[in-house]
Point group: C2
Chain length 251, copies 2
Amino acid sequence: MNQIFRNAALRVPCDQCPLRVLPHFREFGPSEIDFVSSFKTGELVAEAGTLLLAEGMHNAHLFTILSGWAFRYKTLPDGRRQVLNYVLPGDLVGLQGTIMGELDHSVEALTPLILCVFQRDRLNELFVNYPSLAFDVTWLASREERMLDDHLLSVGRRSALERAAYLIAFLYKRAVAVGLGAESLVRIPITQTLVADTLGLSIVHTNKTLRKLVMRGLIRWQGRACEVLDIDGLLEIAQWDQMQERKRPFI
Amino acid sequence: MNQIFRNAALRVPCDQCPLRVLPHFREFGPSEIDFVSSFKTGELVAEAGTLLLAEGMHNAHLFTILSGWAFRYKTLPDGRRQVLNYVLPGDLVGLQGTIMGELDHSVEALTPLILCVFQRDRLNELFVNYPSLAFDVTWLASREERMLDDHLLSVGRRSALERAAYLIAFLYKRAVAVGLGAESLVRIPITQTLVADTLGLSIVHTNKTLRKLVMRGLIRWQGRACEVLDIDGLLEIAQWDQMQERKRPFI
DNA sequence: CGGCGGCTTGAGAAAGATCAAACGCTGTGG
DNA sequence: CCACAGCGTTTGATCTTTCTCAAGCCGCCG
């Protein structure tokens, strides 16, 4: 179980990429699409729970998520785990490993996943011949940094309730931006254990905290997933000045 | 007070940059140096306490630290502050603001500072004509991300004592890498209030925690600065698998 | 000399961790 | 079809860590 399958049959051509048509993403010129198309070596399908990248790996793969959710995390030698961020469709994964030689975090599939796989060693070519794409890569790295900044503020300075509200609002916004969740119903497919490891809290206290959000009618928790009922209520508790995201690139 | 001064007199030509000769940094080709040289518009001197970049700023500057320490932070509407990272010589600052339009964090000088100032609007030119430098920019963004990952793990999952040990070891390593601190004596110029806001702890508890490290003979605290006496002891408490940094770029 | 920022310490309060136990769902094997 | 195991969720009780409040010390600067 938990394997990665090569998926030739379902391969989506880049010029028909279902993500690129979303208003959330910037448009590409034809030559950019051509290059990305050649940069892509194939697709992979992974089931929930698959370890996509492991801490310490060299020669990591480089991919973007086509569909599904994943998460990045690190662990301490004694097993304590910290979730660093979540990975949604359109997000680039494994750049660190490609650029710095060795990966210092792991990435695991949260749901079944479809991934576009790119040739690591052609990243150089991308920088030389497609400066606009190179800029996009940097843009994406910068965006990740921004999300981490926010998350760090949260874990360092917000109370448990505020943190939980922030996290759920954050994931909700991201999910909506990439077209997940029909008609104001977004299912965020996380377990409470994962929430605990994201917020830096124990599972028990996380449960009690989420319970408060449920009692107040802000969220609903059903079958390993969270649904948002009152996004404004969450934003208010979190005291979150939202980063309003404008059009973003993706590769 | 707390002003920024333009500093024409002391201007260091890039080809004689005192940082570039450090073994820590990668070497540049002549054309790279030429471009960086033209990219640089001047130098600034700032005294300790100066706010270099403020959250919400558009059109932020883009600079590298030539000498001195600074720190990046974010605040919640009610004033709670979280230090995100420290900025040392050779580090690029303001990239986020340049790349994403609006800055979402602030940067403040911790000591007197000398900065190289770059022309934001020529970043595009850099990407088009100097792919190797563009790659370096991405590399640096990726490095920042890695440091944030580590910091997040720390704040989320380490105990107060472990966090403090980690932070000090981290700053020590970085300071040594860029040639600060003669002969095994490194002065890390931070206040305990700042440590508290970095670790996500109260000042009182931070003090009690640092006191333990002092008692155990691992560090010394003198006049708004911390000195490391036993780096291995700190690393052990922090359970820190160090990222051994190889040669890195800088702009 | 007085004020302020940084450091230190004690005492009591609160947030969050740990321990313990139970429930419900799902998938598996008999 | 049923028993059972395992995971995710829930709740109560107790313990620990960390916070807040309060106060005092020191050195520096105006």
